[in-house]
């Protein structure tokens, strides 16, 4: 079997292959370690980490919808200190990149998180989750307001030498505006998309299905929306992209690469098939061989227009 090159370089971040697992869908890796060979993953984006531990939102927090699910977990996590002392030592044993997803309520919290994680052995990059409320601005999400996006990224940029990934919120009018703001602020890489805000109602009981009323939609239902956003952003900025949103199999992943993502992250699919990330990796390799490609980076952003009518 001919070997295809799967290693990818995303700005300052080298990955042994372009398949990552998305934040919040793979815990801290240890939960899956007996079922998945973590050494084969391109990287693990760990659960959103805050300065202090958080208990999360009341139940019910998740509800299935057509080909997707809404979640309002409320960033339940162990906090950055417990992450460093209790979760990271386990992850250090593996070859895959460890990307810490961080979230804060204020610029200072983001800065403190970045500073705390800078230079910590075993952390390969930071991913800024800016889909969280900015308390200084009456709770409007950092990722929705381009000026707040630019500001939070540039303030974090000054506190860390780690590769900086900014995770874009899709809940905006024109995602290219927010993408440019993140790049202006100093983002090395953009990841997209986070979940789409939605809700679900039980007609019988006439109640919202989530205690929090709204939740973030993920899963196959959002794939066409996410794919379009990745393509749009790929046209608008020069930094490498990590694409995600509803990837269930290798074909979905390949579509994101063709749209312009240099790497992909598998999210919700990990819940229904713990080994899906490895299947996606193997499927991409097989696809490349079938297509006569030797290097995964050669297909990034190569999607062409639909055949003209005359050629049908």
């Amino acid at each position: 079997m001919s070997k295809v090159k799967m290693e990818v370089q995303l700005g300052p971040l080298r990955l042994q292959n372009p398949v990552l697992v998305a934040s919040g869908t793979f815990g801290y890796g240890s939960e899956y370690a007996d079922l998945v060979d973590l050494n084969r993953l391109g990287g693990i984006m760990v659960k959103g980490t805050t300065l202090h531990p958080r208990a999360g939102n009341p139940m019910p927090r998740m509800v299935e919808t057509a080909a997707g699910c809404l979640n309002s977990i409320g960033l339940q996590n162990v906090g950055v200190e417990a992450f460093i002392h209790e979760k990271l030592p386990f992850l250090r044993q593996y070859r895959c990149a460890v990307i810490v997803n961080i979230a804060g309520d204020s610029y200072e919290e983001f800065e403190q998180l970045a500073e705390r994680l800078d230079g910590v052995d075993g952390v390969h990059a930071l991913e800024l989750n800016i889909s969280c409320p900015n308390q200084e601005k009456g709770g409007i999400h950092f990722g929705v307001d381009p000026e707040a996006t630019r500001k939070v990224v540039s303030r974090v940029r000054r506190r860390t030498r780690l590769p900086l990934i900014v995770k874009l919120s899709p809940n905006v009018t024109d995602i290219t505006v927010n993408a440019r703001a993140a790049v202006d602020g100093g983002a090395d890489i953009l990841s997209l998309v986070n979940t789409f805000v939605g809700t679900a109602i039980d007609a019988k009981t006439r109640r919202f299905k989530l205690a929090n009323i709204t939740g973030g939609l993920s899963g196959p239902a959002i794939k066409p929306l996410a794919l379009y956003m990745v393509w749009q952003v790929a046209q608008a900025v020069k930094v490498p992209l990590i694409g995600m949103g509803g990837i269930m199999n290798a074909t979905d992943a390949v579509e994101f690469l063709l749209a312009g993502a240099s790497a992909v992250a598998v999210g919700t699919a990990n819940y229904l098939n713990p080994r899906v990330s490895i299947e996606v990796l193997e499927g991409i390799e097989q696809y490349l061989r079938e297509q006569g490609e030797k290097d995964v980076k050669d297909i990034v952003g190569t999607v062409k227009r639909c055949k003209p009518e005359s050629e049908f």
Partner: protein, 271 residues
């Protein structure tokens, strides 16, 4: 040890109204499942339903490498499951979660197993283990309840073990008329539940668990409950299965899929 794989259906037969026992081939589950543990089973038509669903392990047949669960047909997944025939496959992840903790010394404890409807299967596995480990049969008390006689499961299996068995239905169509807690009250009034050497294990609908937990608290009986929540991942990562608990630091959430499904009833904060 756990597996995540497609497992072949060995048998799928009706055992009560809308309830089926499905036997699946999975040497890993058959060998490693403990009483109270569950498997996450996924059957889909397209992407519906998206996630698997949790089902308690009912019986294991380690020699053949098979195990079974009893499921009640409720929604999409269980409807699809009911259509499975011998030779078809079901995606199984498991065994998952913790187990019922047997109070020691097991031979000197009165083990009170309280089942509601389709909550009976994991308690059967526990009763079987207790008997196999040599706990005298009269020290295993099973209170098996359901709304109606045709919804009561595992009755003949418990009977075969020769344990001290009560059947109770809300409409009195089988066994005693009433609720499982009525039986517990009767036992208690007759002095048959000595708090110093009793352990209650319960599995069933939330309302029943809460009632049993309150009864146990009132009579100072240690009690373990197997909690039912939705379980999108079953692996401890999505945090969608949170159970509110009391800890030394105040109120917190635990994950039913890995910290449970079995909880000490005293720590659970009932909704």
């Amino acid at each position: 040890m756990r597996c995540a794989e497609y497992c072949e259906v060995v048998a799928n037969r009706q055992v009560a109204t809308s309830q089926f026992e499905i036997q699946l081939h999975s040497p890993v589950v058959a060998r490693h499942a403990q009483p109270g543990q569950f498997v996450q089973m996924r059957v889909q038509s397209g992407y519906e339903p998206l996630f698997g669903r949790p089902f308690s392990v009912f019986r294991t047949f380690p020699e053949r490498g098979d195990f079974s669960v009893i499921y009640l047909v409720r929604g999409t997944l269980t409807q699809l499951l009911a259509q499975k025939r011998r030779g078809d496959t079901v995606f199984v992840v498991g065994p998952l979660g913790n187990r019922f903790l047997v109070r020691q010394p097991a031979g000197e404890v009165l083990h009170v197993l309280v089942a509601g409807g389709v909550g009976a299967p994991p308690l059967y596995l526990l009763a079987e283990e207790l008997v196999q480990k040599g706990v005298p049969r009269q020290q295993v008390v099973v209170v098996n309840g359901a709304r109606r006689h045709d919804l009561l499961v595992c009755q003949e299996h418990f009977a075969e073990l020769g344990v001290h068995l009560w059947a109770v239905t809300e409409d009195g169509s089988l066994g005693e008329k009433g609720k499982v807690t009525d039986i517990l009250k009767g036992l208690s009034q007759r002095g048959e539940l000595p708090s110093g050497r009793c352990q209650v294990y319960a599995c069933g609908p939330s309302a029943m668990l809460e009632a049993v937990a309150k009864f146990a608290q009132k009579h100072d009986l240690p009690c373990q409950v197997s909690m039912e929540t939705m379980m999108p991942c079953g692996l401890g990562v999505c945090l969608g299965c949170a159970v509110k608990v009391r800890t030394s630091n105040g109120i917190d959430y635990k994950r039913a899929c890995v910290d449970g499904p079995v909880f000490d009833a005293a720590e659970v904060v009932w909704a």
